[in-house]
Subunit: 336 residues, 3 copies
């Protein structure tokens, strides 16, 4: 037994690592941000955000990418080390030629380090990432979770982004100096077409915030003090308490919120001019934490008749075995 | 005596908690940012910032709000937990219907947690918070101060905000995508109409910065390294030294600055384009730390004939017993 | 020997402090940001960034400044304490009258505290700092380096800034509300005219990021997790890991990156709209970490024929004895 233990220590990943192969199409897709505001995107598997990739630290990942659009693309795996596989990093003209329309490229790499990561196109990022929806979450579970991670009962992903409606139907253009961003979304939807975060008293909630757009967002949560536990997927050595966390493009913050205060609580960008849809106030980057202990039926409640769409924060998919998961709630409409 | 001590421990707040009742009117008010630049605000008790609310952790607070304007409003108590009182959180269509013009609403809640908090309207925040001056400071003293808090000899509040002059006299409008912010204020005034921060050698200065506007501000203090001690009212587990602190909307940072370097020192936003009034340089979000040991009479000093207005940082009101305090220095002019 | 040691302890700086005298001219200078985009600057010694000042904590520094332009200027030594020398802080109308065209001013002060500091003009900062290139690095080595500092094998300085081309040739104007920033540079150059960061496996790399412009930049480094070790020149009590660090104007962050992953890795602002030159994508605030172990000759590599310019990050000058160093790579063209 001592011998086998020594062996396990010498090559600790061998027993755990899985191999995953995923198919990813990039498709011209129309999505709706809110109300009648549609947008032409180059969507991963026809949805914005793209499918959830959820694996374990050390897993071997293969992604076959098919570019079905008329413009060149790549996929960069933001936050992954690509140790020994720099050619898989997905940067056009630096680590590979861009994937031409109609072409396929296969990315193969090890999933490390653990944490909240994401993927996105790296061609003309000012347009493709900023306003063509070319991003999705990439969650890598650690081999050894931290104590706080083991306590988590609800796990939510929130990808923040910004859109300039002037370019909505001009694919191949946009994301240039002087642009006016006028729509602001969580997982591709603006309030009131976003979805509530449903929790119950006693839940230990993990909120994985990902800055996928072009602007900074000062996310404020009412009724709670949360712990800022992870930055860019890495555990902070000195987690701190806050009620407002600023997420800039490229950054990730994982917050731990102890659901100990039943009520109905706003979650919103405190950059106030990000809470409009176009020039219409009370929209944009806002949602509500709903406790199951509290009826949602107050007459004055804007969402009292809200149709609930599960998995909007990938909270259902995250419970499934490791793999890649599309989500019907994010599916757009193919553009021929 | 042992018995009474045991009792006090069992219910520690009973002996300390006070009950406060405050009256708050929301009034159409003209304020002057700097020079001739006036602005139509919906001011709490006719002033910007609104009155200081200063209580102790655990106190019971009642605020009777009278909406004397022609638009709907609420008050949200930013940072307060509202434990068990979520209907007092002040969010229209989520925790209450907005307070209609002419109507009154009474907020009742417990003051917790301790720290630098603030209050603001939560209706059409893009306009009402961003550029109608609907905000004020809410300071909750802790039951058990941290060691550094006990050392403080000067306590200053600085509320940072941004204004787009195009909307100055169009109440009910503004704060929309594409707005050009062209005035930048500390406690509602831009340099040179702001006020110096007066200290003496040996002072332990607490600067409570509150992001009340729409932009990020990189506040730089000359001649000192300060300690970043509190974020959003909560003590940081690992306070750090800096000379520039970035405050985004909704955030609060409490800085501890040891006044050990007599001189005349700039304090300003290092976002350089926030140091103008309109298109006139050397204005905006700037002030000066003046040591009493140094004469202010140098010929070249821009503020050598400055008329000093006490309580501009609520430093006098903060010394008074707990309660709510208007400040004459912030009073505007009623708009009929 | 015991006696001399005791003496050294009693007056520890005496034996170490050096006195330096530097000459600094401010000159109308044309620099090229990228391609054909030139800019009229008021350059320190005719270069942007200005010369490197590199001294040791406690050194006595004298700088004779000659204003050869037609506008008033000063120099502020950002981050230096100016203990007992507040009149040397370089703020017009607060610590001194501005230096008139043709005039000279001598600054004398002690270099403290240690760390990554910088200098810049303090007259009309919205124009002079934001878009006339009036800034340079000021590095103060500590008397007692931290353990991580002793490990460093490569030391790079990156000054980040932003430019609105509309004002390129209108000196005396610009940096006003509503400006559209459309060029984004590291040490005054935009991609592809910036330079690679060359490292070798095993290097311990220090990246000194300085926010010298007007916007926030979310610097993301591929293929590595770095340690955020210093903020504003001061060591952080709880250094943390990240792959993206946000630098606002006035701030400095020193990152420690262990070069353990040979490859070709992007370093770029993740504010995607800062990766253009004007409206042309794939430019702006980007560079590449090149490992010497990897050939740069891939056909697809945008920089395969790049002409390498040493000292672009002041990495060569930083190895020289303490002093002030111009760098040929930053030299502009005199404007008569």
């Amino acid at each position: 037994m001592l011998t086998s233990l020594a062996l396990a220590c010498a090559a600790p990943t061998l027993g755990w690592a899985e191999a995953h192969t995923f198919e990813m199409n990039i498709e011209d897709t129309k999505i709706t941000l809110v109300g009648k505001q549609d947008f032409h995107t180059f969507a991963f598997n026809g949805q914005v955000p793209g499918p959830l990739i959820h694996v374990k630290e050390g897993d071997e990942v293969t992604v076959n990418v098919n570019n079905l659009t008329t413009l060149p693309h790549t996929i960069h795996w933001h936050g992954l080390l690509q140790r020994g596989t720099w050619q898989m990093d997905g940067v056009p003209d630096v680590t590979q030629p861009a994937i031409k329309p109609g072409d396929t490229f296969t990315y193969t790499f090890t999933a490390e380090p653990s944490g909240t990561m994401w993927y996105h196109c790296h061609v003309n990022v000012n347009e493709h990432v900023t306003m063509r929806g070319m991003w999705g979450p990439f969650i890598i579970d650690p081999k050894e979770p931290t104590p706080i991670e083991k306590e988590v009962t609800k796990d939510f992903i929130l990808m923040l982004s910004d859109w300039a409606s002037a370019w909505a139907f001009k694919p191949g253009y946009g994301g240039v100096p002087g642009d006016v961003f006028d729509f602001f979304t969580i997982n591709g939807k603006a309030y009131p077409d976003s979805q509530p975060l449903r929790v119950s008293r006693g839940d230990v909630v993990r909120l994985r915030l990902i800055g996928a757009g072009d602007l900074a967002h000062a996310i404020h949560i009412h009724g709670h003090v949360f712990e800022v536990a992870f930055k860019d997927g890495r555990p902070l050595p000195a987690p701190y308490e806050a009620d407002t966390i600023v997420v800039h493009p490229g950054e990730r913050y994982d917050l731990i919120l102890r659901a100990d205060n039943p009520g109905r609580w706003m979650v919103h960008d405190h950059v106030d001019t990000h809470t409009l849809n176009g020039d219409k106030p009370m929209g944009g980057m806002m949602t509500v934490i709903e406790y199951t202990e509290i009826s949602a039926k107050d007459d004055f409640y804007a969402w009292k008749d809200k149709q609930f769409a599960p998995d909007f924060y990938y909270e259902e998919s995250l419970k499934k075995p490791h793999g890649m998961y599309d989500a019907a709630v994010f599916q757009g409409q193919a553009i021929e």
